[in-house]
Symmetry: C2
């Protein structure tokens, strides 16, 4: 397949690395498969990133301007994966769709889907193109093309959004399966509710812990809390100490689902507060025994 990757960061870079590495693997398997090789072109706002992407073999060629990607390469492109931050997905699509042929299928990697898939499909349809939403759930603590790594997607889940265009859906599904992902299909609304619960709301829940601790106005107690904090605090506060722009975008682009999760959370927290106020220790222990039993449904031991 001929693939364009727009936005060469951790995700875009790692995707390119795996796609191009697959060429080597298939060559080793059998030379006659070489016509099935992937060709990957890339776009990044930063010329340095383009050079780095080429240097680490995440892309065959990259440029800051789609006009500088040779026409014959654009004409043969099957799939374009938009790997920019959420806020840039629609503007990017608006800018590049007119430069690409009508058979091109677009997808993205954004962590919200409802705010993306419908407007993106509208933009694409104007040029006879198709858009399928994707959310590959993979990452590390690092960012940027130099953090890109092989096998980042291996065995990780990826959501794709439904489409009546089964050919387009199948191509996007194949892309993620080719880098080792387990692909699940669900509606943008279902996706957004699920990730609000397990990913977006936890950022707010975790950040609120840090902020609440910092509100301590007895300086000795504050210093002591900072000194005594250990692995429990480290883990519970981790995602609340993450990239603030990313946290903002989650809330901004997934507002209603994030609020829905936070309302459910607030209610549960209040229930726990009530148990402690009322000294209902057996019921509190039952509650904690249930959360202990339920957690492995999310994160198997």
């Amino acid at each position: 397949m001929n693939i364009g990757i727009v936005g060469l960061g951790l995700i875009g870079g790692s995707l390119g690395l795996d796609l191009l590495a697959a060429n080597q693997d298939s060559k080793q398997d059998s030379e006659i498969n070489s016509q099935q090789n992937n060709y990957v072109w890339g776009l990044s706002r930063n010329p340095e990133t383009c050079k780095q992407g080429e240097a680490i073999a995440a892309v065959n060629i990259a440029d800051t301007d789609i006009e500088n990607i040779p026409d014959r390469i654009l004409a043969q492109t099957d799939l374009v994966v938009i790997c920019t931050p959420i806020a840039a997905i629609l503007p990017t699509l608006t800018a590049i769709a007119p430069k690409l042929p009508s058979h091109v299928i677009f997808t993205d990697v954004g962590s919200v889907k409802a705010a993306i898939v419908e407007p993106a499909s509208t933009i694409c349809s104007e040029f006879g193109q198709r858009f399928i939403g994707s959310h590959p759930m993979a990452g590390t603590a690092f960012q940027g093309i130099l953090a890109a790594e092989r096998n980042l997607f291996q065995n990780r889940p990826c959501v794709v959004t439904p489409s009546e265009d089964l050919e387009a859906l199948e191509k996007v599904r194949s892309l993620w399966q080719s880098v080792g992902m387990r692909v699940f299909e669900c509606s943008p609304a279902e996706h957004d509710r699920a990730v609000a619960m397990i990913s977006h709301a936890p950022v707010m829940i975790s950040a609120s812990l840090i902020a609440a601790c910092q509100q301590e106005n007895d300086v000795k107690v504050l210093n002591l809390a900072q000194t005594l904090a250990s692995s429990g605090f480290r883990d519970t506060s981790r995602v609340g100490g993450g990239n603030p722009e990313l946290g903002r975008l989650m809330a901004e682009y997934n507002q209603s689902a994030v609020l829905r999760s936070l309302y459910a959370y607030r209610q549960t927290l209040q229930k726990v507060i009530n148990l402690i106020e009322d000294q209902q220790w057996d019921q509190l222990e039952d509650f904690l025994a249930k959360t202990q039993r339920d957690r492995p449904f999310y994160v198997p031991e």
Copy 2:
């Protein structure tokens, strides 16, 4: 020093291992120091645990009944460390204090101090003995004597509670320093507020996340959330999926400080919810930028 350890679990066992290992170290340094060797006796409810404690050299001798520890050993005891769960500390002290000489200094390892130190001091004073509260902040994910390990306490913080009896305070401080801990002195109330913030409240905050997720009544979304949960959910939910009895005891024995922390937390969470409801994205990003800046005060990178 001659030391009794009551309760041979992870903490008691690891303490004994380090104290007895120090004998070997000091012998190697200089034979004339051998009179400074530690002698460690232990008590456990479980005869098997007593045997295991002796076998792994966490104690010189151990028994289920203090009556079976030779009188000459009890008579020469300097320090007794009560390493039982919180709920057993005061009953244990009541049971063994009458069997020990008046010069003995008691301490404990409980994660709450106000509910322990005053009544424990009262029990001890009846026999002319002294009590200093301790909270060595160390642990692993495992429990029991067979999980005991060398150097568990190395470089970890330990709180000791103040006393007018400076000799007793110094002995307890020395004990923890001898196993490598950084010792901090603070009042029971200060300790309890600090650990409520960074350790006890996070258990409730984290457990509420698991319970809120489980409330999802759209089965497809629930299954998807369980499938998509990854490292962010893993970390944020970890302490909420821990030992329910321990969580209950934290709340039961540190009720007012845990509630105080949860009230502060609830208020902060509501502030975040308001920002999202009001679409104040810049303010939300500022809030998250502050939690990102503040987190390293607790857990240095």
